[in-house]
Symmetry: C2
Subunit: 293 residues, 2 copies
């Protein structure tokens, strides 16, 4: 008994080391096997679901990793002489451009009146002139005019948005939203004559079936969306910029887009409703956004 | 002694529970405090350096997490009646907009001729009308005209770019680049009358000093850059879209921008040089980028 008692500290020490080792191994396995999906799940809950579509893609491929200056392919060069304007005309054109775009607002009240499809096509064609990483042009614009599909989109968006509000987001997000009038009823998804869903192509498929990374696809497609928004406004149409949380995979399947495409934005498009209103917000003055050196 | 011995199992059990608790807490702290920086380091080598600027910011703040439909603050609503055009005029305007933008190209040969600063200001003012997540307007446009600062920027960009080419990037990246004429000599950074460096504000600072997450700041600023590119082209100016790898922190410090700002793009701006050439590349036809449903 005395022997057992004197051995107790040794036994305790050995047991502790064994337990510590087991616990550490367990934790290590847990952290090294899934660090990205874990952190992704915490940081971007809805992206995680989208990743199920292409588990072969490494996070390196899936992230926007490298940007190559736009449009410099290994092609013969040709002279380029863009239109030049005298200084006064430049000034006037730049002033008019600002005045035009400064009238643009995000509008949730969209008239169901029909809009010529060729106008939408022209604006998308213009959006497709955006620069892109290594000239990959990694965008697909899905234009939905069919009422039934629009309604299915609405149901998907509203359902997921309600879940987001109620469950997924932290206090901070909900608190930020409280300041906003946003709610998860999106009538405009039925009413707008067109819904434009903009997909970014995370990678391309080469003729041999291999995947080709699209560097900086999200930035490229966002730039393209900038041109799209300018073009819609220039044509007298309105929209509201939205990125429906968590809906990417469902909407991708509904619209039968391939697995390399991820939803970036959803824009309801049409004329402003006759009684359209917008929040009375202001934009920052120029001096708050520009710094001269 | 017998009492002590009979208590040994209890003692061991208690000790084990305490050790397990301590170890678990330790691991938990470790995994919750830094899992993202680990995965970020693996997935995006150069972003990691940038994160050194603001280690207090969690990755949740730093990622583009949530987007709120643009411009819907908790403000009184006012009527909004944007200009409407008859269908023929809409069609013509949309066609002209496409024709204008389709003439834009990324140009590396920029004339050193001076350009009126007010033109640049107008174009930036227009870019600042972009929608942004929760109307945060998370952009800063730094316009560099001073030759010495331009040259410092060139040195930073060229040095980092050479390192990227030679060391950091995998075989795939280098192979992709071989197809491109890009190299790390960037004369245009000295020659262009202006360099516009566009920073995204990852978060804002509230009056009480607390940080306010800027949801979807990267997408918002990229949209704004789309408007900027359209505005520059509309004024008869050229640029080439670039995102200098790894240079963000150095350029931020050089330009004395605060820690919440991250470099997104660097645009050299001016007239096209008289002998400017561009690669003879084509854009995808409309049918390749649009799907109608």
């Amino acid at each position: 008994m005395a022997l057992v008692s004197s051995l107790t500290p040794v036994f305790v020490a050995v047991l502790c080391v064994v337990i510590a080792f087991v616990l550490r191994s367990f934790q290590k396995t847990k952290t090294t096997s899934k660090p990205d999906s874990k952190s992704t799940r915490e940081a971007r809950p809805w992206v995680d679901e989208d990743l199920k579509d292409d588990t072969e893609i490494s996070s390196k491929d899936n992230e926007d990793d490298e940007w190559v200056d736009g449009g410099e392919e290994d092609l013969p060069h040709v002279p380029y002489t863009p239109t030049r304007y005298p200084p006064e005309e430049m000034l006037e054109r730049s002033q008019q451009f600002y005045s035009l775009l400064n009238q643009r607002r995000s509008v949730r009240f969209i008239s169901p009146e029909p809009v010529p499809r060729s106008v939408i096509d022209n604006v998308i064609h213009a959006a497709g002139t955006a620069p892109s990483g290594a000239h990959t042009e990694p965008w697909t614009f899905v234009v939905v005019a069919e009422p039934e599909t629009k309604h299915k989109i609405r149901l998907i968006v509203e359902e997921e948005e309600e879940i987001n509000y109620r469950q997924r987001m932290g206090d901070k997000w909900v608190k930020d939203l409280e300041r906003l009038r946003t709610n998860w009823v999106k009538e405009y998804l039925d009413e707008a004559p067109y819904l434009i869903l903009i997909f970014k192509q995370a990678y391309g498929i080469l003729p041999d079936g291999k995947k080709k990374t699209h560097y900086y696809n999200e930035i490229s497609v966002s730039i393209s969306c900038g041109l799209l928004l300018a073009g819609l406004h220039n044509a007298g149409l309105v929209t509201v910029t939205s990125t429906p949380l968590n809906c990417g995979p469902q909407l991708r399947l509904l619209l039968r887009r391939p697995a390399n495409e991820k939803l970036l934005m959803l824009l309801p498009v049409g004329y402003a409703a006759a009684n359209a209103t917008v929040p009375d917000l202001k934009r920052k003055p120029l001096d708050d956004i520009v710094v001269h050196i």
